[in-house]
Each structure stands twice: as structure tokens, then as C-alpha cells.
Symmetry: C2
Subunit: 147 residues, 2 copies
DNA sequence: CCCTTGGGTTCGGAATCCGAACCGTAGCTG
DNA sequence: CAGCTACGGTTCGGATTCCGAACCCAAGGG
């Protein structure tokens, strides 16, 4: 694997990495996928300061990953919900989870489980060739610089 | 999707998220997967300060994601290489890349491309049911709290 | 000998993060 | 209607972390 020089702005990983690789953002998204929607709930379920939470929610809304929406409970409240762009991050979280289960699992095992709604099967993540369908590891992939 | 209260330490996403959701770590891993191995090369290819680079490389080594190894060039040098645990993060990076290509792609397109070495096909990432094989989105998955 | 290179470590100042306090709007209570 | 509470923030001061620049040391090379 020869080192590939990369123009950072043109690497499809670097922008998302800069966004998600900001403290709290991944945890916030996990929480969103678990169904948390309200400011207060994020704040009490994660141990994050209110100011930083407000800021992170703000940038996620700006990025179009969450949308802030008013709704009527007993009175007007707001919720932060995943947009389509946000929902599309699911594979990232699932890949993280799979890795976490394999390499950083707590002794007692996870505190929740995920299953396919309709058949009850577990959730798997796979990197596969679009052409031949073979499961791929880093070693099976060639990097071709374009510029 | 009812909100699920999660004991943070028992969520298989939270530990990896805390680790990778630290500034620079994801970018560093991307670089590692592209073949960068030496301190100086990380430093010149990414725009990171030497002190933080040293620290991040250190924690990744502590975590067993990279291993630091001496080797002989014209003289003794060191390289940071992905361990098996590190290589196993490939799906995370690929999921990030896929998302980046779809939602944050730069106008000119990516600066490099990935292909299956043996058949030339593209690299795909899939979340699928272990049982029935169906492709899954967040909506198809049920969260079951265990404790 | 002095110079260069790789791989760091060590500053001081700048940017972030945190907890705690505050604020405004709304409803509910009496 | 006066006062209280809940939500969804914003605004502080102090504690961390980050950064760039400078320094350090070992091993060659000229």
C-alpha cells in the first residue's frame, strides 16, 4: 500500500470526519437514533453541558442532519429529528457499533439490542464489492489517485 | 421510536464514539488506511500540530489500533501501522466515505477512487439483516433495552 | 566537527469546554 | 391575577485543550 497524497478537501472522508469527529457529535447522533428528540432529554441522557449541546444541535441543523420542528404537546415544544441526510448516517453508527461490540465490549454486554423488525434477525454491516459481491477488507481494495 | 434510556458505558457505540469522536482521530485513521506510516508524513499530509499528533498517535497505540514499530531504512526509523483491531475499523471509514460522497461531495468529485483489487468493482457498504439478508434502514430496526 | 533529518517534547497564548446562573415564554394553581 | 414551574435556551468565569514555534537528541554525512 503506497502512501497516497490526498488533497484534503477532495477526500470524501475528510469533511464528514471533520464534522463527526467533533466532540459529542457522534454520541448525539446515537441518541437521536435511539429516539431522543428534545433538548432537555438530550441534556439529561448525555452528560453534556447545555451550552455545548445547543451549539452542536445548531450545527447539525445547519448541516441538514437534524431539523428543528415545533409541535404541540400541552403547549408548544420543539423537537430535533433526523432528516433523510441524518438517517443516512445509520451505516456509520452500525459500523461503529459492530466494532465496539467486537473490540471494546463492556463485560456485562450491551444495554440494548437491535433486531430486524419483521424477522427478528440481528443487524450486520458489510463492506462488499459492488461488482462481484465479495466481502472486502482494506487489503482487498486498491486506492487510485485521480489527480 | 420510543426514546430508549441508555446506560452510557454499556452502549457499544459510546466508547468507540468517544475515541473516534476526538478531533483528528478519524482523519488520522483515514490517512493510515491510505498508507501513511511515519510521523513526519502524517504531520505534513494533515495540517495538524506536532504535539497533538504525538498525543493522538499515542492514544491510538495505547488502544491497540496502531502499533509503533522500528525498522531500518538507511537508519532506524519508526512506523505506525494498523493492527488487526485498527484494520477492522475499515467499515466505519467506508460508511463515512459513502455518506460523504452522497451528501458532502465536493464539486470536482473525489481525489481518489477505490476498487476491488481482483475484479475492479466499486466498494459498497450495506446494513443487512443477519437472518433474512434484507437491506436495513433505521426504521426497519427495533431497539430492545435489556436492563 | 558541524549540518541535516526524523521523531519527538516543551513552552505561552488562543480557542473550547464546562457548570452554574440567568432569562423569556407559556401554562397551571390558588 | 400573582406566583410557580417547565422548557429551551444564552451568558458568564474558570478549567482544558489546541495550536505554532521553538527546542532537544540521536544518528549519519561531508
Amino acid at each position: 500500500m503506497a502512501p497516497v497524497k490526498v488533497v484534503d478537501e477532495l477526500c470524501p472522508v475528510s469533511l464528514p470526519a471533520a464534522l463527526l469527529g467533533e466532540r459529542w457529535t457522534l454520541l448525539l447522533l446515537r441518541q437521536a437514533f435511539l429516539g431522543t428528540r428534545r433538548f432537555e432529554d438530550f441534556q439529561s441522557e448525555m452528560d453534556i453541558s447545555r451550552s455545548v449541546l445547543a451549539e452542536r444541535l445548531g450545527t447539525l441543523v445547519e448541516e441538514g442532519i437534524l431539523r428543528r420542528e415545533a409541535y404541540k404537546d400541552v403547549r408548544t415544544r420543539y423537537e430535533y429529528r433526523l432528516t433523510e441526510k441524518g438517517l443516512d448516517l445509520y451505516p456509520v453508527l452500525m459500523a461503529l457499533r459492530k466494532w465496539g461490540n467486537r473490540w471494546m465490549a463492556p463485560d456485562e454486554g450491551p444495554s440494548y439490542d437491535l433486531h430486524h423488525r419483521s424477522c427478528g434477525g440481528g443487524v450486520g454491516v458489510h463492506v462488499a464489492c459492488d461488482e462481484c459481491g465479495a466481502e472486502l477488507t482494506a487489503r482487498d481494495v486498491r486506492v487510485t489517485p485521480l489527480r
